[in-house]
Subunit: 405 residues, 2 copies
């Protein structure tokens, strides 16, 4: 397979049909809001049949190099509605009411943008699908670059599948354990399952039991949340201006937030200017160690960039190496949670956070630890040997060390 | 009442307790994510009892002066859940399942941030409440400054109430006209109404009919959407760098988007630098005419600003005048829709848009026109004299002129 250089493309509409001179196996397509795709030609002979798509995203303070783009979320509203209508036409659940909904009249409400971007992204990346479902898909991409509405929202998207599992659990309880749920639950579940089946698995009309559908959904979300720690399928890079302490501190914190959301960060990128100092580079390298750090020339992230010039930069080679498909820095990853049975401690790696910003809760006796930092929550199940109540916690070298008794 | 200067405060946490020297009747409180509040002391004797709160927001391309802030949306999750639990405790609908939900475990999913910001904002501004409800509120603010996650999301928030009316209509149909809806609808509606009542109107347990609750909800959204064209209650300003054509064009388009979302823009602000030219100022003034345009010194929107210095700037006086509570530029507002019965035309003022980007639909014969531009949709009801099918449309002086037959 031709080697695919994963460059960063500003999401300006003018790049929607960009192709780089002298390498015409590269394609760049703009398929959906905030999703940029760069792919090797799918006709290459040596693409393994089970090859998965890697998702790449960049976290950084606004103005540090991330780009923003407008979204045509209104168009995206129509597709889920169309599927629901088709499912309803088979099941005849809403007696024509759903059929009468004019999708074109419905506007985009706050928050929908991110939700539809996530759906569009899942369509392309297929994190929630299993292997046999993925192989049926026609569009194949090596890398998809996601440029979110904001870093906070991108982090929320990363954490969505693991967070959604708890919502699903409670929804299942409501559906199975209340009179109203037992009455309405199976029909609604059937409609939703039929609508999903139409697109990914073909019609399902013969019907599964409600318990099977719930189990399926749980399995799907579990599969989704496991992807974000696999470096071959998810790449997450911190972007910063090494001369600006606010930008550097924001990147440190986003590192901690990404870990807290259940993802691994693969590297750090500094946008260097002509007056960048050697000192600042060293400071940043220390701050982000053991993450690989790489300077990036400003035009690479500027607008409009001169791609031919960028390709010639010596400095870009390190960045290309860092971002490349082949590199997986598994030996450079700091484990986000470490248990010490002898000392009865839990070590949480949380760069960018201060002890005062982290809250610890225990709701199910001593078997779990709920960690709240920023707007992200994470549940840590404790091994049986160190289960107990929290006795104390102290911050040491970017980690919170929690002692249990 | 002491005159309140509505300054723009970057939403850095360090400003949460800022008070400006020499004017100690000013208070700045940070109550909720992305909502900054500046208020005159509520003890002032001459505050009229029916005084409403004005909401102010700024639209502009990222980096043009808007600030971003982190949100503690996770904390906001708990309040609605608490209300739902209280309502459920009275109605006993979920047989204890809702009571068992540990809110602290639930994470923030994509899109929730904006939704919770909107709820927090409504709590402060009270756009959805009627006068008698507003007078019961203890906290009174003259002006609330909203700094959204992005300009696109701020515009969506502005359009939310008018968009939500259609969703509500279809939801009502589903609830009233399907077997499932007739079965489950009243209970769910009752739970939602009881949860809302607990906070704003006191308990409602004796019960309203479902139709009354639906009517109430419709009236509430109608009230909400009418606020955004009242200059005394809503101020919306375009922010741009006059030397940067991308920023100027983005501001023009946001003007069109705000109109399309159902709001009126009150003025345009240009962040001037020492090398700003007279030519660019004139060009921008022409582009945004008849909106009042005002230059702003960069430190006013920079971070961290020196407020004492800013207060001394001569240039800030015009900006203060433009942003002031007293000024309402009703004579400077271009009507967003104008009907010409004689010519059978509809004139839609849509700055920043190109004819090719605007889609027109007609779904209910010739009585309505659905206008789609960007990700916003707007329904225009036609007066009976000019109802008919669209015969043609042309763009002229920032307006789309549609001819009907």
């Amino acid at each position: 397979m031709a080697y695919t250089t994963p460059l960063l493309f500003p999401s300006s509409p003018s790049y929607s049909s960009l192709s780089i001179a002298s390498n015409n196996s590269l394609k760049l397509a703009r398929r959906a809001a905030r999703v940029l795709i760069m792919a090797a030609a799918s006709s290459d002979a040596d693409v393994p049949p089970n090859k998965t798509t890697k998702l790449v995203t960049f976290l950084g303070k606004g103005g540090s190099g991330k780009t923003t783009s407008a979204v045509f979320a209104a168009q995206m509203l129509l597709e889920p509605l169309k599927r629901l209508k088709e499912a309803d036409a088979r099941l005849n659940m809403t007696q024509g009411v759903l059929e009468g909904v004019v999708g074109e009249e419905l506007g985009v409400l706050p928050g929908m943008d991110t939700i539809f971007s996530a759906l569009a992204l899942e369509n392309l990346v297929g994190f929630l699908r299993n292997m046999s479902q993925m192989n049926r898909d026609r569009d194949k991409f090596d890398i998809i670059v996601y440029d979110g509405v904001s870093t906070e929202e991108t982090i929320r998207m990363i954490g969505a599948t693991s967070k959604a599992r708890l919502y699903l659990k409670y929804l299942r309880h409501l559906s199975e354990r209340t009179d109203l749920g037992r009455l309405a639950g199976p029909s609604l579940l059937r409609l939703a399952d039929e609508a999903i089946s139409l697109s990914s698995r073909g019609s399902n009309l013969n019907g599964k039991l409600s318990t099977e559908i719930w189990d399926d959904l749980e399995l799907t979300l579990e599969r989704g949340s496991s992807v974000f720690v696999e470096q071959s399928r998810f790449g997450c890079y911190l972007v910063m201006d090494p001369e600006n302490p606010v930008s550097v501190n924001a990147a440190l914190r986003y590192w901690g937030c990404a870990i807290q959301a259940g993802a691994q960060v693969s590297g750090a990128l500094g946008i260097v200017s002509p007056n960048s100092s050697v000192e600042s580079t060293e400071t940043v390298k220390n701050n982000f160690s053991p993450l690989p750090y790489c300077p990036i020339p400003p035009p690479l992230l500027g607008s409009p960039p001169d791609w031919n010039e960028i390709m010639l930069y010596k400095i870009s080679e390190d960045a290309r190496e860092l971002l490349s498909l082949k590199r997986t820095n598994s030996n450079l990853i700091v484990p986000s949670v470490q248990f010490n049975v002898a000392k009865k401690t839990v070590n949480l790696f949380m760069p960018g956070f201060d002890k005062s910003e982290i809250k610890l809760y225990q709701f199910r006796g001593g078997s779990e630890l709920l960690v709240e930092a920023g707007d992200q929550r994470r549940i840590i199940r404790l091994p049986s040997q160190i289960q107990g109540k929290v006795a104390g916690a102290k911050f040491s070298d970017r980690s919170l060390v929690i002692t249990l008794r």
